[in-house]
């Protein structure tokens, strides 16, 4: 049973938007640890809530369109119910809320974002995003290591 879940998401055909998906694909290929589950996906869907509820830590990776291009941000994510216009994709906070409300467990979660420059159709990254990928992967790996050391990350909401 994995203890850490990495969810990298984005559209592989929308230039910088592919960042989370691409990083997850690379981490998936390099991952040999049974403690770590890496899932590249196009978007966060409600069916990921159960998977998230089974781990101690979730690490989200996404590209943002706000901020300084190429800048990496990492912040803790707290669960929060989804927006009114919800159909079948979710924010990280809403996914955690679903995990907590449906499956009784809310994992600790972190969000890595990089601000992108170009979201046009295409399969290559802008220079600013491309150059930050090695650093981003190193930061995610460190976060995974920290999470595996931390044994109290999981908050039992329902016994």
């Amino acid at each position: 049973m994995a203890r850490v879940l990495v969810l990298g998401y984005g559209n592989p055909l929308r230039s910088d938007d592919a960042l989370g998906w691409r990083v997850a694909v690379e981490l998936f290929r390099a991952n040999a640890s049974p403690d770590v589950l890496v899932l590249p996906c196009h978007q966060l869907t409600p069916d990921l809530a159960e998977t998230a509820s089974l781990v101690e830590t979730v690490i989200f990776v996404d590209c943002s369109h706000k901020g300084e291009p190429g800048k990496i941000l990492c912040e803790e994510v707290r669960s929060q119910s989804g927006p009114a216009s919800f159909t079948h994709d979710l924010s990280p906070a809403a996914l955690l809320a679903l995990a907590a409300e449906l499956f009784g467990v809310c994992p600790r979660a972190y969000m890595f974002t990089v601000c992108g420059e170009c979201f046009d159709p295409g399969e290559s990254f802008s220079p600013s995003v491309s150059s930050c990928i090695p650093g981003l992967k190193a930061m995610i790996r460190r976060q995974i290591e920290d999470a595996l050391i931390d044994t109290v990350g999981r908050q039992k909401l329902v016994s």
Binding site: N11, R14, D17, C41, H42, T45, P46, D47, A49, E50, S81, G82, P83, A84, S85, F86, T87, H88, A94, A97, L98, E101, L102, F103, F119
Partner: protein
């Protein structure tokens, strides 16, 4: 003079559907709905930009049409390519494709019923729009939300186990499938069957228990005579993979049976209207628009004599008792969808326990032997046709796609008119009126394009225009 000016209401975009569309309601001078149109405002053009590509690329390329039902496009496309190769695929490949298709129906129907429509059914059509989502369901009936998530995950995981990924897998190829099923994956899928069956039966039981609360909607949600079209097995049984086209009329009488899908252009006309990018197919012998027909779960259960699995057969018999004729109300698409989920889970178990299912012989290899091929299957939303013509080098020269949602275009428009006439009064729309118009559309679960990337929030805007084209009122639904 205000009373003498005709006005229209525009609902743009329609929410909780797959893709982008808008509705225009034309009001008469007394504020009564006079006409209604469902406009599909996005354009894809897959038929054109595949021209010049090698036909062997088509299944993977066509899967990109949709992020919800890529498997159906893969299957229809691969079947069209099988016809170009002029091969009969190995029996195990045939069964594996069926499994793939059934898993897709389960996950897609689960998305439609639990994620998109259950808020209306559980919370009511007049519920606060801010609560009409899965979180609203979660608050009132968490087990329903949990069941929906489990069921969709069950279907998605089968697709992932067979195709390698959940969205846009390319495992179905011309001549069969690219990899055989492993014992490990077969056993893992079989292990999920009991829970999926329990969810399907539980949800059907719940739905039937609340149906009485929706008498008015049943009576006015696309409740009109039309033809119904779908593929059935030779014995009249329900199928999603292959068979002959059967058409029944509103009395439930078989109008045509055993039509070859490859000859679809002989009996299906395709009309293009200037106000929508969605084609309006019709049954050619009846003419346009009298040849209006419906496809999808409601149509499939209307054209099928049996399901061929024990529990679904019991449910089908009960479904047929809803009406002595064909079941006409589009509200019953929900019911039909749940019966189909039950069938799919039962059928998955039958196929996975087939002694040949682990055979390694899953692909027939050949070069192009025909210059034209048609592939047809039942996608979750209805009958799907892919039709290709190639040159002697195997390059696509022409393609035509008849998508399930397109078949229902005329019926959706007529349904919107009916529901709007019944529920919309005056020049101001209440959230309940608006939601009922949208809910009618949701019964068809139209897939206008799931693979387009929505960027940012999707506000709902209703605008009132007078006959001169001036906007006289506007209402925005908050995100």
């Amino acid at each position: 003079m205000q009373g003498a000016v005709s006005k229209s209401i525009v609902i743009d975009p329609v929410t909780r559907i797959e893709g982008h569309g808008k509705i225009t309601l034309q009001l008469d001078a007394n504020g009564r709905v006079e006409d209604a149109r469902f406009h599909v405002t996005q354009f894809r053009g897959f038929e054109k930009f595949c021209e010049g590509r090698p036909f062997s690329e088509m299944p993977a390329l066509m899967a990109r049409i949709c992020g919800i039902c890529p498997v159906s496009h893969l299957i229809a496309s691969a079947k069209a390519c099988d016809a170009l190769l002029a091969v009969r695929i190995p029996p195990t490949a045939d069964k594996l494709r069926r499994i793939f298709g059934l898993a897709q129906v389960v996950q897609s129907h689960a998305l439609s019923f639990f994620y998109l429509s259950s808020p209306d059914l559980l919370l009511g059509m007049d519920a606060d729009p801010a609560k009409a989502n899965l979180f609203g369901v979660l608050e009132k009936k968490p087990e329903l939300a949990r069941d929906g998530i489990h069921l969709r995950q069950f279907g998605q995981q089968i697709i992932e186990r067979l195709g390698g990924k959940r969205i846009h897998p390319s495992w179905v190829v011309p001549g069969g499938v690219s990899e055989p099923l492993t014992e490990l994956n077969r056993d893992a899928i079989l292990a999920g069957i009991p829970e999926a069956l329990a969810i399907a039966e539980r949800t059907l039981g719940w739905f039937k228990s609340i149906m009485e609360n929706f008498r008015e909607e049943i009576g006015s949600f696309g409740n009109f005579p039309s033809l119904f079209l779908g593929i059935v097995k030779k014995d009249g049984g329900l199928t999603f993979y292959d068979g002959g086209i059967r058409i029944v009329n509103s009395a439930g009488e078989v109008l045509a049976n055993g039509l070859d899908p490859a000859d679809y252009r002989e009996y299906i006309g395709e009309k293009v209207e200037s106000w929508s990018y969605l084609k309006s197919p019709y049954y050619e012998p009846s003419g346009y628009p009298q040849g209006i027909y419906r496809v999808g779960p409601l149509a499939r259960l209307n054209v099928a004599d049996r399901c061929g699995t024990p529990r679904a057969d019991q449910e089908l018999a009960e479904f047929h008792e809803l009406q002595r004729t064909a079941v006409l109300s589009s509200f019953h698409y929900h019911h039909a969808r749940l019966v189909e989920i039950l069938y799919c889970v039962e059928r998955l178990e039958q196929l996975l326990t087939d002694p040949e299912i682990l055979s390694k012989h899953v692909r027939a290899v050949a070069g192009p032997n025909c210059l034209e091929g048609v592939g047809c299957c039942e996608a979750p939303r209805g009958t799907l046709f892919h039709h290709y013509k190639i040159d002697e080098k195997g390059l696509i020269r022409w393609a035509n796609l008849l998508i399930a949602t397109g078949h229902n275009n005329l019926a959706m428009n007529r349904g919107i008119l009916q529901v709007a006439k019944h529920f919309v009064h005056g020049e101001r729309m209440t959230p309940g009126m608006l939601n009922r118009v949208e809910a009618l559309i949701r019964t068809y679960d139209p897939c206008l394009s799931c693979s387009t990337h929505a960027f940012g929030a999707m506000p709902l805007v209703i605008q009132l225009f007078n006959a001169s084209g001036d906007m006289v009122d506007e209402v925005r639904r908050p995100c």
